[in-house]
Each structure stands twice: as structure tokens, then as C-alpha cells.
């Protein structure tokens, strides 16, 4: 078993955002692996076993431990498997996840809102500013080269509206042949994947895949690295390339107008983007083309991953607060490229922009 390969060297302890926030070893990757190694000694203690199951969900699944491990331990895989085992073993301890599961089963989004409302909120807000946007919403029979997969956060959260506006404006400006999945979009399945519910996730993916095929899309783009993990690695999209929006625009644009930078900027690179998907060049390439100066933030989690906002919101808050205090970015605008990271940054009152907002501004105001 992979856990036997862990030599307990401890290199994953201090870099773990959970350990950083709590300072206690049971939250660290090494601690959790150790507990798995001695599980035969402690499993009979019901309270201990229950506590252990809880700690499995006190993790952002940021992958930093997995990236650091030199012993060949598949840490991320272990965390996924163990989460699934925990829910199978004691479903009653995870009843708080039932509304999420039910929402995804019934209305195919994490908020439990009507499926047909996916394209309502932002369309109401943006239709005047982006004429013809309604026509971009997918309906049976429509086709396009590019399908835009917004994901649940960007479909329903008003806090994402500026990013959406910039995304659509940029697509329009660049005359991209695109459609938005709209009411036909199911959740990508990422939340279920994070709790080890592969069956539920697969049902959601099947529908998405069919819609994209029906639309004859050649590419699907998304701003959400979590959605991209699903689209790229789990949707089995044959002949349809899944891209992060920064990848798509970076490929499309050899040069861009310069962004009229008036504020100090810093860049928070989303864990799922750089560590899991290994997309590191394109966001920075776009920023370079835009001519912006920015400070690279530590490659560390914002606290928003792994469903931690749902499983332990206090820890999630603590992680972002610690980073905010440590990195001194209060007087900067924190750039990112992930709706979930954006929510975290906003929750701690940091100014934040998605890279596409800079691109859109540059295209609007700059000279091509």
C-alpha cells in the first residue's frame, strides 16, 4: 500500500496550510498517514475513529504534500479514498453534506437553485451591456466552436459578476464563436469528487459531455480550475479540448494592449491550477503581455479548496487570514484565476481581480 512508502520524514508538515493554521500534528499530512499506519491499534476506539474521519475533511486538498513527497506516496489519492471510506463507514457523521448531495442530484448545482436559473442572474445583469448575450446561451440545435462552462459559483454568485462581464466582453471583442451552457450545464461533479462520490459525479458529467457534443464544440473553456480538473481529467471528452480561460486567451493572443496599471498588484496562483493541473505558464504569460508588474504570492492555499468552506469554515477563514497577515497584500489588488479563490479573497476584504478583468480592460482601453 502507498501509505507504507511514507518514511515519516516530516517534509510535508510545516508547509501544510492545515498545520500552519492549527499548529497541531494530527492535521498534518504526516500525522494523518501515521494515524492510518496505526489504525489497527486505534480503530476500536469509536471516538478516535470518529475524530480521524473528521480530520480527513479538515484539508484543502491543495496537493502541496503530494508535490513535496519524495517517497512516492500518492497523498492526494489517499485523501480522496479515505474521504470516501469515511462517508461509507459513518454516513451519519457527514449528514451536513446531504443537502449538497441532494441539490446536485435534484437540480444539478451546489446551491439547490432551480436548474433553469443558471443563466438567469447574470443574463439579467449583463444583457444590456453585452448586446446579444442571450443568444449565446446554448439551446438544442445551436452549435459553436467554443463552449463556455461557467461552473456553479460563476453561474449563481453575484460576487463573480465582474469576472463574467469581462469574460464575455473579451470573447465578444475577440469575435470568438462561443456558446454558454446555461441551463443545460450540470455541476462538473467536482464537489462529489472531493468527497469520493464517483457515481454521483459521473451522472453529472455524462449530461455535460452530451451537451458539448451536441453543440459540436471543439473547445470548452472555464475560469474554474476545479471544473477544469473535471472537464479535462474525468469527462472523457473525445475531440473536445478543455482549457482554462487563461490558456485559451494566451494561445489566442500573441500580443495584447498594455493594461493601464494604476494599482499595485499581486498574484495568487490557485492550487488546483498550478499544482494539480500544472498550468503555470499561461496566466503569467498573459500578465506579461499585459505589461503588468506584480508580486508573486507564496504558492499556498487560500483555504477555499477541498470543500473546507463547508466542512470547517472556521479553519478556512483562519487560513486566509493568516496569509493576508503574512504576505502584506492589503494594499494591493490580488489577481487570481479561480472563482473559489476569489470568494476567499473577498471574504477577507481583499481587493481582487481575475486576470480576465485586466485583459478585458486592456482590450477596451488599449490599442490593438
Amino acid at each position: 500500500m502507498s501509505i507504507d512508502r511514507c518514511v515519516q520524514c516530516g517534509s510535508c508538515v510545516k508547509l501544510c496550510p492545515m498545520f500552519d493554521a492549527t499548529g497541531e500534528e494530527q492535521f498534518s499530512p504526516r500525522g494523518k498517514i501515521y494515524l492510518l499506519k496505526v489504525m489497527d491499534q486505534i480503530a476500536e476506539d469509536k471516538e478516535l475513529a470518529k475524530d480521524f474521519r473528521r480530520t480527513l475533511f479538515q484539508c484543502t486538498l491543495c496537493g502541496k504534500c503530494d508535490e513535496t513527497c519524495s517517497s512516492g506516496v500518492d497523498l492526494l489519492k489517499i485523501w480522496h479514498q479515505q474521504r470516501a471510506n469515511a462517508i461509507d463507514t459513518a454516513p451519519e457523521e457527514f449528514a451536513y453534506l446531504d443537502p449538497l448531495k441532494e441539490a446536485l442530484a435534484n437540480v444539478k448545482n451546489i446551491y439547490g437553485l432551480a436548474a433553469e436559473d443558471r443563466a438567469i442572474y447574470w443574463l439579467d445583469e449583463l444583457d444590456d451591456e453585452i448586446p446579444g448575450l442571450e443568444d449565446r446561451v446554448y439551446e438544442k440545435g445551436k452549435t459553436a466552436d467554443v463552449m463556455v462552462f461557467l461552473g456553479c459559483l460563476m453561474s449563481f454568485r453575484s460576487s463573480q459578476m465582474d469576472v463574467l462581464k469581462s469574460l464575455f466582453k473579451t470573447l465578444e471583442k475577440l469575435e470568438v464563436d462561443y456558446l454558454v451552457m446555461g441551463a443545460e450545464e450540470n455541476c462538473c461533479g467536482h464537489p462529489l469528487y472531493l468527497i469520493g462520490n464517483e457515481t454521483g459525479a459521473e451522472e453529472l458529467r455524462e449530461h455535460n459531455k452530451k451537451v458539448m457534443q451536441d453543440a459540436q464544440a471543439k473547445k470548452v473553456i472555464t475560469c474554474c480550475p476545479g471544473c477544469l480538473i473535471q472537464l479535462k481529467n474525468h469527462h472523457n471528452l473525445q475531440g473536445i479540448e478543455a482549457l482554462h480561460h487563461t490558456e485559451f486567451f494566451d494561445r489566442l493572443l500573441e500580443t495584447t494592449p498594455k493594461y493601464n496599471q494604476k494599482e499595485p498588484l499581486s498574484y495568487h496562483d490557485p492550487c488546483e491550477l498550478h499544482r494539480i493541473l500544472e498550468i503555470t505558464k499561461e496566466p503569467r504569460s498573459l500578465l506579461e503581455k499585459l505589461g503588468v508588474e506584480y508580486k508573486e504570492m507564496e504558492l499556498s492555499c487560500c483555504g477555499g479548496g477541498g470543500l473546507l468552506r463547508m466542512t470547517d469554515p472556521n479553519l478556512s477563514d483562519k487560513i486566509i487570514e493568516l496569509r493576508k497577515a503574512r504576505e502584506g497584500v492589503q494594499n494591493t489588488t490580488v489577481l487570481t484565476a479561480c472563482p473559489s479563490c476569489r470568494e476567499q479573497l473577498l471574504s477577507t476584504n481583499l481587493n481582487t481581480k481575475d486576470i480576465v478583468e485586466l485583459l478585458s480592460d486592456a482590450l477596451e482601453g488599449g490599442n490593438k
Binding site: 507504507d4 512508502r5 518514511v7 515519516q8 520524514c9 516530516g10 517534509s11 508538515v13 510545516k14 508547509l15 499548529g23 497541531e24 500534528e25 494530527q26 498534518s28 504526516r30 500525522g31 498517514i33 501515521y34 494515524l35 499506519k37 496505526v38 491499534q41 486505534i42 476506539d45 471516538e47 478516535l48 475524530d51 480521524f52 480530520t55 513527497c69 519524495s70 517517497s71 512516492g72
Partner: protein, 445 residues
Amino acid sequence: MKLRDVVMGANASMYQRMDFKKIKGVYYPKTEEEAQAAIKHAKENGFDVVPKGGGSGLSGACTGGNRERFFISSLQMREILTISLVGRYADVQPGATPNEVNTKLEPLGMKFWVAPSSRDVATIGGLVSTDGGGNDTWINGTMRDNMLSVNMLTYEGNHLIIDKNGVKSSNVELAEELNKKGMNLDDIAGAHGTLGFITEIRVIIKPLRETKTIGALIQFDNFDAMGAGILQTIDNGCPVEYGEAIVMAHEDVREGLTPPLLILEFPKDFELVFCNANVREISRKELTRLQDIRIKLPKRNPNVGTQIGLFEGYGLYGDSLEHMGNTIREIDEVLMEHELAPFVKYGHAPSKWYLGNNSPAYGLVMHSREIRPEGKTGKEIYRAVEDIVKKCEELNVTPKPEHKWLYSDEIKKARIQELRAVIGSSFNSFIFEPDCASDTLSSMV
């Protein structure tokens, strides 16, 4: 039992199985006052106290054996309290790592010059307790050479400040008694947490070097040639700033290298000459790659099976280094008698360490990993350790030099017991169990 208690067993040694019911509590103090309160609580309940740092050592000392005990973890005491550029020192809490300290120092053009391979997790307090060193110990010395004083709390609640000249304390009588015994920093270095809980260390800091250095890869035909080569660097006083040996490596982790070999970094204007060796200058990029291969060796596994670290380290010096081929052969014979297939051997060279009588030794601090045999019990594997210790004594190899393994270093052990008789004897007591705590340790593999 609580999860936070059980997880105290997490550490890099092979001593991982324990009776968790005997762990009576865990404290993560942030301040000296909190540590003081934790010790007081342990004392009131009559339990042993085990200080724990990063848990990256292979000795198992941080497990506290299998007694009823309280743990005090230093992991939340990681502040860098003072940096004095004029005084060339920094006051640090025990849970800070060398990397954390140097992150603060480097923008100031300064560095704390102790570089163990585990510098990302090994704590400064742990380095004091093991008298740790690293790839630059040859020129920078071990932890004891890089500290000015240590603040320590005893089981009886006394606060001691120990430097190279002696002990100060508000308990004047105690300080006087300890000074009569000549207690100083040498006693704290490598004491394995048996004397008290370290709350603060004044470490020496020095400017970052501006010397231009180059890297070299030195390949030897055999172990004897390697031993002779290391002795040559020592005899010539080579100004090696980074020195690592890869003695042998299983093909799964060798990455195209052909050991035995040395990876050295030294000043550009130094003329490096080796007899009976193939010396090749390497680019900065290749040096970095080799350093990375080396630093990961202790963590790697074979493609099939897993590795096990039996033993903290072998100190090869004098005869045992001169006849290195014989030394390695005899060690491997013992390992193979126990069905432990050698996996990797590597270490710092040229290097320096201190013997139990505080005199320095110079040579190769060699670490070793073996492939864990299928179907062997913990007790059976532990027997290999006992046999290795015996073999090391026979070969004049210092067992576990970097960590001065108290279990077998009778001089150091006797000295610590002398001091414990004065300041209290309830810190990490299992180390003083009869027969080098073999009964306890063998049950923990």
C-alpha cells in the same frame, strides 16, 4: 485517548508502535510561561516529560519510549525573537527550523550555518538535542559550534541559562551545584531532551559568503579509494563548503550516477587534487541537480517494497575510514544476515562530529537505508540494530555520530545521569532503561 495524543508517535524512526494509552497529554506551548505550566502539570501528575521537535530523526528519542508520559511539542514555539547584526546572533524559539530562521536572516545578508538534510522540518531545539550538523559541518561545525546559549526549563520548574562557561539561574544554589559539575553547552548538545525543555537558543549568525565557488563530482573505483579520498580532504584541510558522499545506491534511485562518489563545492581559487579518483568540474545546474538527488535519497523507496532506516548514522573515521571497503563489507554482512538488503548509503563528507567525551572526530557521517524484508517481526528487525551497534564498536565506527546515540555512548550517558541527579530525572527517562532500552525499543518497531 485523543487523536492529538496518538499522533505524537509520528516520527521518522522505525519506532512507531506504542501503547497510546500511556500518552497522558500533549502540550503545544507558544511561550516559555506556557511551557513552564505544562511541565508543572506533568510533575503534579508524576509523569515523564518528552520534548518533541520536528520528529525527523531516526533515533526514536522523541517517542519517549513507552512510559506514561506527557509530550511537549515545540512546533508552536517558532518565533525568531531577536536578530543582532552587531552581536552576530539571533535568539530563536526551539520550534523554528533552519529554513525559517534563514528566511528572516537572508534579506539581512546573514545566515545560520547549520544545514541538516531535514532543514525544512528539523527544529533548532531538536538540532541542539542531537548536536546536529549537515553538508557544511566540516567548515561550520555542528550545532554546538553554532550556538552561544540555551534557555532550559527543568522538571523541578527551574529556569537555566547555559552557555559555554556554565549555568546561570535564579535558583542560585542549583546554578552553583551545576557549575561545580562543570555543566555547559557541551552537555546540552546531544542530550536528547533528557535534561529539560529548551525554550530559547541564541544561535550564531554569520554573513552570507561572497566567495565564488565551483562544484565537482569525484568518482572512486572502490570504497577504499573513497575513504582515502575523504581522509585526504581532511588532512589537507580542503575548504569544502558543501560535501556529500553517495557511497552506494540501489539502481531504482541512482538516477544514472555511479557511486562511490563525492559531490563537493569549494572556492574557485582552490586547486582540488585527488589521488586515484576521477574528478570532474560540474556546472551550477548539475551541482543543484546532484544536491537534489542526494537530499531526497533518505526518503526514496525501491520500485518494489519499502525502505527502512535502522540506524541514525555511522561515523567512519581513522582506521574505519582508511579501510572503508572492509567497514562497508562487514556492515553489509550483518545487514544481510538479517535479510536486510542494502538500499542506499550516503552522508556528509568531509564532516565533523563530537564523541561522547566532547572531542571532535573527522570523517564520513554515513547514513544508510535498507529494503524492509517481508515477514520479519519488529523484534527480529531490532536484533539487526543490536548487532550493528556491536559491529560498529568492533570496527571503531562511532554509532550514530550525528546524534550521539545515548543508548550506546556510555560516556555521554554517564555524564547526563550525573547532571540529572542534580536537576531532576524525569525528562525522557526511557533512554536510561537497562540494556539501552532494548526491551522498549524492540516492541516499538
